[in-house]
Amino acid sequence: MLEIKNLHASVEDKKILKGINLEVKPGEVHAIMGPNGSGKSTLASVIAGKEEFEIKKGSVSLEGEDLEELAPEERAHKGIFLSFQYPVEIPGVTVTNFMKTAINESRKARGLEDMPANQMLKLIREKSELLEIDRKFLSRSLNEGFSGGEKKRNEIFQMAMMEPKLAILDETDSGLDIDALRIVANGVNKLRGKDNAIIVITHYQRLLEYIVPDFVHVLHDGKIVKSGSKELALELEEKGYDWIKQETVV
């Protein structure tokens, strides 16, 4: 589904990704772990198409199609979804209006009519219940005055609404207490299926107890330095990232 080959990316001439190779197949869950500044969020932004990151070498493709020339919205239309580490506050646009616009624009891109209002309502009700989101919350301005946990829950609510092929969760566990973590993980797990894939970017092993990965990769200094099964995450938790750093040097 997603194929990353020898990816080098920079921001303002600062090299951040230095040759990443990764293949994600339908139905798989990949975890990407690594210390701060290793390039995890950059990788997520490059896949989602943030303009300030420039691909210097290598490629990212989704279902065989190179993504480099595609705008962020075109990538979204093809089924890529990024759950933001820091969701942006947008006063004046309610969660509901935002989702309606997002869904109808995506439908338009696929040549479909707007979703009928009753169907939209039903979908919103269904997905907000899944994430245990209060109805009142939906008429508030997007992310404005939301707590850290509410922002993350709202991200996964959007993911549930958009039903992406490839979801990238960037530090979705940060700022969540244990109850919220369980709700969010439950929401994500409901969306797992044989046709879609998930990349979980996290600093800690905690989230992976709930969203169990098929593969774990360790990112360090812009490269994947180690890959393994879910046990690798436990090992990292135990030994810390210094262990990887040392091993890399050796």
Binding site: G49, I90, P91, G92, K100, T101, A102, N104, L121
Partner: protein, 444 residues
């Protein structure tokens, strides 16, 4: 065939004043006020760009137009054709003028416990004399040239008087239509609004030209808010692109009164808003909000003044502007805090987005603070849209163009939260959405 030398507008106004005097009661005390006022205008004339307050707004082109000062014939309008300019979704009192002349069949006035009627009646009928003596021209400037020009010709406009503890059953709409019967028409409406202790009123004001003939309105509104009074005033500036408006509004507030003025500027060729608040009491709340969205060569100039003259008062200013094509905007926000006015909270915010290289905005806070224990904040921003917000929307499948429009809509819409007439809010919402090309209809 006679040829007539084209007079300049000032001369034409001065000679028109003589004709005007033939039609009003010269023995009425108000006429003394008018005579004083015309003298001031004669001395000062129209403001020029040499004056600091008019640096960015030129009235030169307007002065070259041969405006009719008095319409030659009465015009009639069919309600069906102009219904859309009314906030017809709700029941309201209406004071409607066509080419400056009161239109009784389009209006709905009242004397039922409150007075919602005409200034011409209030100026001539004896039962209003006491009120007129106390309030007329008492807060309007006797010095500013355009205000005095209006005072000189003051005869007609809206008169609203809400006695102590009263509130009219419904909002009041003041609408001025220009029919285009004159090739170019100058209008000088004069409104007087008195809201006594613990009384309340909501007013919507609109100027609407129905053709592309030129219209120049120089309007003056005086508002007096008594102790604990509440006034909500909405200025809907969505006129034809050949209409110019100078709006001079003067507000005097007493203890604990709340006055909110919202100005929505989307239309018109040249608009100048001189909005002046005078706080003459304690625990007063003054709110000034504005949304300006312009294109083509439109020009809007907001000059605000809040004079904090007593302790423990607040003022809140929030103006948002979006400027496209070759449009120009001005925001000049003056706040004066007298030495006695301790514990003043004065907030001022002016945020602007420029959509084109040829659009300009000049924004300037002007703070004169003589008290030491005050909280005054001001912020002016001029910028493009937030890139991170844009990426966030795009990553959800909203194309850049739509995402940009949606962000601008949100930016402007934020000011509407304090609009207390829901139907008006919806209307303005839609105008903003249409202007920016956002699909609204997404309200669930």
């Amino acid at each position: 065939m006679t040829t007539r030398k084209k007079m300049d507008l000032k001369d034409k106004l001065l000679s028109s004043f003589i004709a005007f005097e033939n039609n009003v009661d010269l023995d009425h005390p108000v006429h003394e006020v008018r005579s004083e006022a015309i003298k001031n205008f004669e001395t000062k004339g129209f403001p020029s760009k040499k004056e600091e307050a008019w640096k960015y707004t030129s009235l030169n082109n307007l002065q070259k137009v041969d405006f009719s000062i008095f319409p030659k014939q009465e015009a009639a309008l069919d309600y069906k054709e102009i219904k859309k300019y009314f906030l017809h979704e709700i029941d309201t009192y209406k004071i409607v003028f066509i080419d400056g002349v009161y239109s009784s069949y389009l209006s709905e006035t009242t004397h039922d416990g409150v007075d919602v009627c005409l200034l011409s009646a209030a100026l001539t009928k004896p039962q209003y004399k006491q009120i007129i003596d106390v309030y007329f021209n008492k807060v309007a400037s006797k010095d500013e040239s355009l205000t005095t020009l209006n005072t000189a010709f003051s005869r007609e406009g809206a008169y609203i008087y809400i006695p102590k503890n009263k509130a009219p059953r419904k909002p009041v709409q003041i609408i001025h239509f220009a029919t285009g019967n004159e090739a170019a028409l100058m209008l000088q409406p004069r409104n007087l609004i008195i809201v006594e202790e613990n009384a309340e009123v909501q007013v919507i004001e609109r100027h609407q030209s129905l053709t592309t003939n030129e219209v120049f309105t120089n309007s003056v509104t005086e508002i007096f808010a008594g102790k604990d009074a509440h006034v909500d005033y909405y200025k809907m500036q969505n006129d034809a692109k050949t209409a110019s408006l100078i709006d001079n509004t003067y507000i005097a507030q007493k203890d604990k009164s709340v006055v909110r003025v919202h100005t929505f500027s989307f239309g018109g060729k040249l608009t100048r808003n001189n909005l002046n608040f005078y706080q003459n009491g304690e625990r007063i709340d003054s709110t000034l909000k504005g949304v300006t969205i312009l294109g083509e060569k439109q020009h809007v100039d907001h000059h605000t003044l809040v004079h904090h003259a007593q302790p423990n008062c607040e003022s809140h200013q929030d103006y948002k502007g979006i400027f496209g094509e070759k449009s120009t905007g001005v925001f000049n926000g003056k706040i004066i805090v007298d030495q006695i006015a301790q514990k003043t909270n004065a907030f001022q915010q002016n945020n602007n987005i420029l959509l084109s290289d040829k659009a300009t905005i000049n924004t300037k806070p002007q703070l004169e603070i003589f008290a030491d224990d005050v909280k005054c904040s001001h912020g002016c921003t001029i910028g493009q849209l937030d890139e991170d917000a844009l990426f966030y929307l795009q990553s959800r499948g909203i194309p850049k163009k739509e995402a940009t429009a949606l962000l601008m809509y949100a930016f402007a819409n934020n000011v509407l939260e304090s609009v207390r007439i829901p139907e008006l809010k919806t209307r303005i919402n839609k105008i903003i959405a249409n202007t920016l090309g956002v699909r609204v209809g997404f309200d669930l």
